[in-house]
Symmetry: C2
Subunit: 200 residues, 2 copies
DNA sequence: GACTTGAGTGAAGGATCACTCATATTCTGT
DNA sequence: ACAGAATATGAGTGATCCTTCACTCAAGTC
C-alpha cells in the first residue's frame, strides 16, 4: 500500500514575497489544469508558469496533491462567499426569483473554470480533501437553511440540487449552449422542489 | 506542439483469442480506472491485470488514449442500447411513469461505474473521441424523439436532461444516498420539462 | 513437411517527472 | 551595518512509465 499523499502545507509564508510565491503557484496550477487537464499538471510546469523555481514550490507544498488541496479549498471558499452574498440579498424575494438569483451565482462560478472544477471534484474523493469539503459543507448548510426557511426541503435536497446544477452547467458549457442557462437551471431546481414536496 | 494522441486501433483482431485479448485489455482498463483513477491507469498495469504482455497491448492499440477511446465507445453503446430497450417498452405509459422508467435506466447504468464514467466524460473532450460521441449522439436523438412525440421538448432539452442526470447521479453515488434516486431524478426531469413548456 | 501469417513476449531505450539539496540572495530586527 | 532568518535557485537524482523491436510460438495452407 502506498502512503496517502500529504496535502497539508509544509510551512506558511511569513514575508509578503513568500505569500506572492504561494499565490503564484496556486494560480499557475489553476491555469494549467483548466488548459491542459491533469495530464499537463506537473510540478515543473507549474513552477515554470508561476515564474518560480521548482525548489521554491517544494518549500511550501509537500507534493503536487497539496497544491490541488489548496486550490480546491480556494475554489470552494470563493463559491461559498459568492453564494453567501446572494443569499443575503434575496431575503424578501419570491421563491422563483430567489432561486433564479442563486442559479445565476452557480452559473457564474462554474462557467469561469468548468474544467478545473470538474477535475477538482474528481480528485476530492481520491485525496481526503477535508479543508475543501469543510467549505463545501458550509455551502450546503447555507442552501439547506434557505430551503427549510421556505419549507422547500432540507440538506438532502440541497445536495441534490447542487450536484444536479453542476452536471447541467458543465454540460452546457461543454457544448456551448450557455444562453438562458440560469433560467434552464431554475426550471430543474424549482421543478425538483415542487415535485419533492408533493412526494410524487 | 505535441501531436494529438492516436486513438484508432492499430489492427483488428482476426482470430477468436485475439478478440479475447482486446476484450481483456479493455475490461482491465475499466477496472483500473474505476478503482484507481487516471493516476493508476498505465499500460503496464493494464497489461498485467489483463494477463497479457505489454507487447500484445501495443499490437492492437497505438497508445493508452486509444484504449480510453475504445472504452468510451463501449460504455456509450451500452447505455444507448439499454435506453433503446426501455424506450421500446414505454410507448403507452403516461409521461411520469415513462420518465421514471428512463430515469431508472440512467441510474442503473451510471451507478455501476460512476468513477469510470466521470473520467471518460472528462477525457472525451481532450481527445476527440468521435466514435463515443457518435453513440452518445444516437442516445440524444432517441431521447429527443421521445420528448417531441409527447410535445415536451427537443434536442436541447434532451441534452440538458442527460447532463443534469449525470450530475445528480454522480453526486448521490459519491455520498452514498442512492435510495429513491430514480424518483428524485424524475422530479428534476419532470419539473424541468413542465416549467420549460410554460417558459417561465 | 515447408511455408505463411496471426498472435504473443519481455528486455531495453528513452523520456518525463517528482522531489532533494547545496548554495545564493533578500529581508528584518537591532 | 550586521547577523541570522527567511526565501529563492536549479542542476541533479532516481523512479516510473510509454513504447519499440527482435524474437518465439501456434495454427492453418499448400
Amino acid at each position: 500500500m502506498a502512503d496517502p499523499p500529504a496535502v497539508v502545507p509544509r510551512k506558511r509564508p511569513r514575508q509578503a514575497r513568500a505569500a506572492a510565491t504561494v499565490e503564484a503557484i496556486i494560480e499557475a496550477s489553476a491555469r494549467i489544469l483548466e488548459a491542459e487537464g491533469l495530464a499537463g499538471f506537473n510540478t515543473n510546469a507549474v513552477a515554470a508558469l508561476a515564474g518560480v523555481s521548482i525548489g521554491s514550490l517544494y518549500q511550501y507544498f509537500p507534493g503536487k496533491e497539496a497544491i490541488l488541496a489548496a486550490l480546491a479549498r480556494r475554489e470552494a471558499e470563493a463559491f461559498d462567499a459568492a453564494l453567501g452574498v446572494a443569499l443575503g440579498e434575496i431575503g424578501d424575494l419570491g421563491t422563483p426569483s430567489a432561486v433564479a438569483r442563486l442559479a445565476q451565482v452557480a452559473v457564474d462560478h462554474q462557467t469561469r473554470h468548468t474544467r478545473l472544477a470538474r477535475i477538482l471534484d474528481l480528485e476530492e474523493q481520491r485525496l481526503g480533501l477535508t479543508e475543501a469539503q469543510a467549505a463545501a459543507g458550509r455551502t450546503v448548510q447555507a442552501i439547506a437553511e434557505f430551503l427549510s426557511d421556505r419549507h422547500l426541503g432540507g440538506e438532502a435536497a440541497a445536495l441534490d440540487i447542487l450536484h444536479l446544477s453542476r452536471g447541467l452547467i458543465d454540460g452546457a458549457v461543454e457544448r456551448g449552449t450557455t444562453e438562458g442557462l440560469a433560467r434552464r437551471l431554475s426550471w430543474a431546481i424549482l421543478g425538483y422542489l415542487a415535485l419533492s414536496r408533493q412526494g410524487s
